[in-house]
């Protein structure tokens, strides 16, 4: 065994003890609470997505004539295909939920404030990439709702002033949904967006390591105990435990509520009741409430404000003298988010 270790060390001269010392960041005690460890959850689910996605790609055929049939084959004929597809679907749902919850936690604890503004911006970019990955993945099934969802989304992008027409053309590969559209969604979903996410996560973690985790103190924490614990093995074990719980939850959801298939896309008939995936209910309801131009421009402003929030928050605090102003704004925004989502969920039109 020692001989093998020496052989490896000669070819790969990495000192494990030094490596551990280099990467063993002290972790503040509050990260023992699971809601502070929500950043690791989407990262874990992303790995699940990569593995199940690669497996599904062995059978998936991204063309209008074959896409639906290949998903049907995966679901109904390929061994464990239904299970892997369901894992992929539920991991996507939980990943989006976890990213949103993580972002809300960062927001409400003010962890984005100076000097961590840039990491908030990277987090926002990760949120956008995650939502786009969800959207493109949903479109690949080529069922009625995913087809019309993609059509609506492409036409929304068309309404963006200036670059809208270009964005629509690039997304659809033409003026309308055509024979080449699905392959675009596929390459975005399976290559471009995951690669972007990996790069962004790497920078996100680098920033966390450079600045350290924002430190919080709770009243019930004993004052005489150390305020930090080790990343290896303590925090790693917490993350592994969360991963194990996630696998159990995912497996249960995939078994009890497996991914189903709606009717095949019919480019000639829009279904009577059309809904996007749950994470776009807010935008869909917003589009019903206002004119297209207003809805698109206001959404653009909201997204831009979210990206620039650390600086807007700083300016607001300076102007009003209220240190917790972002919390009040956040509460209103959360209620609006939940309200519009529930409204869209409970009504047909």
């Amino acid at each position: 065994m020692r001989g093998l270790g020496d052989w490896l060390y000669e070819r790969m001269p990495i000192n494990v003890a030094q490596l551990r010392e280099l990467t063993n960041e002290p972790v503040p005690n509050h990260l023992k609470r699971w809601w502070f460890a929500l950043g690791g959850t989407p990262a874990y689910l992303f790995v699940v997505q990569i593995i199940t996605g690669i497996l599904l790609a062995f059978y998936y055929q991204p063309a209008p004539a074959t896409a639906y049939e290949s998903v049907e084959y995966i679901t109904n004929q390929a061994a464990f295909g239904w299970y892997l597809r369901s894992l992929h679907k539920w991991a996507a749902t939980l990943m989006i939920a976890a990213v949103i919850l993580h972002q809300m936690r960062v927001y409400f604890t003010g962890a984005y404030r100076r000097p961590r503004e840039l990491n908030w911006v990277i987090g926002m970019a990760l949120l956008c990439c995650t939502l786009l990955t969800g959207f493109t993945g949903y479109s690949l099934v080529f069922e009625q709702l995913s087809y019309w969802g993609a059509t609506v989304a492409a036409n929304i992008s068309d309404a963006v002033p200036g670059i809208g027409g270009f964005a629509k053309q690039m997304l659809l590969g033409g003026d309308t949904y055509n024979e080449r559209t699905l392959s675009r969604f596929y390459i975005l979903h399976a290559a471009v967006l995951p690669t972007t996410i990996v790069l962004l996560v790497a920078v996100h973690i680098l920033f966390i390591r450079l600045h350290g985790v924002t430190e919080f103190e709770f009243e019930d924490e004993p004052q005489d105990k150390p305020k930090h614990f080790n990343f290896f093995p303590d925090h790693m074990l917490t993350e592994l435990m969360i991963g194990l719980v996630l696998m159990i939850v995912l497996s249960a959801l995939a078994t009890l509520l497996p991914a189903t298939m709606g009717p095949k896309a019919d480019p000639l008939t829009t279904p009577e009741v059309i809904k996007p995936e749950w994470f776009f209910y807010v935008s869909f309801r917003w589009l019903k409430l206002f004119s297209l131009t207003f809805a698109v421009i206001s959404t653009g402003f909201i997204v831009a404000a979210m990206f620039l929030w650390p600086w807007i928050d700083a300016a607001l605090r300076k102007l009003t003298g209220q240190q917790e102003i972002s919390v009040y704004i956040g509460i209103v925004a959360t209620f609006l988010l939940i309200g519009l989502t529930v409204w869209e969920a409970v009504v047909a039109h």
Binding site: N155, T176, L268, T269, T270, P271, E272, I274, K288, L292
Partner: protein, 164 residues
């Protein structure tokens, strides 16, 4: 100092190396830039003019007030109607079944005498004018297809790129 450097050939050599470096980096930037431009153009879809003129009906077949449901080769539904007497193309109208709001397919509701879009509750009257929902707010109407009359035959211009 400058003269000394110039006299032993250091300055011209340094200038030459600086210039060469600039040229090399410009070449690299131009090369990779060209590749990026090719990639961008490759990704942007070709706007091939794949418009086809299809025969619809003879002009006599459409009397004033009558409509003709027309199906494209891919199955898309188009309503063709005569608007006034005459044999010119502008005497006729061909309404698309694609909602101008966000591209969903509208369908005719005979009981309400309107075209209805289920995506965002848009409604249009029989002439294609929006009467409710976001299209009405934006004063949109159903798209009209280009028509042409030749020797008493009515033709419609269709795109062969769309799935619908």
């Amino acid at each position: 100092m400058t003269n000394e450097v110039t006299s032993d050939g250091q300055e011209p050599r340094r200038s030459f190396l600086g210039f060469s470096t600039f040229i090399m980096f410009s070449g690299l930037a131009a090369g990779y830039g060209t590749l990026a431009a090719f990639a961008g153009r490759f990704l942007f879809p070709n706007s091939v003019g794949r418009e086809n003129w299809q025969f619809v009906a003879t002009v006599e077949q459409l009397s004033l007030g009558s409509t003709l449901p027309f199906k494209t080769p891919s199955g898309a539904k188009i309503v063709v109607a005569r608007q006034r007497d005459g044999n010119a193309a502008d005497c006729f109208v061909a309404l698309s079944s694609v909602c101008p709001h966000l591209g969903c397919a509208v369908h005719w509701e005979p009981q309400n005498e309107r075209f209805f879009c289920p995506c965002h509750n848009g409604a249009f009257d029989a002439t294609g004018q929006a009467t409710a929902g976001p299209p009405a707010a934006a004063k949109q109407s159903l798209t009209k297809y280009p028509l042409r009359v030749e020797n008493g035959l009515l033709f419609i211009s269709l795109s062969s790129d769309s799935l619908a």
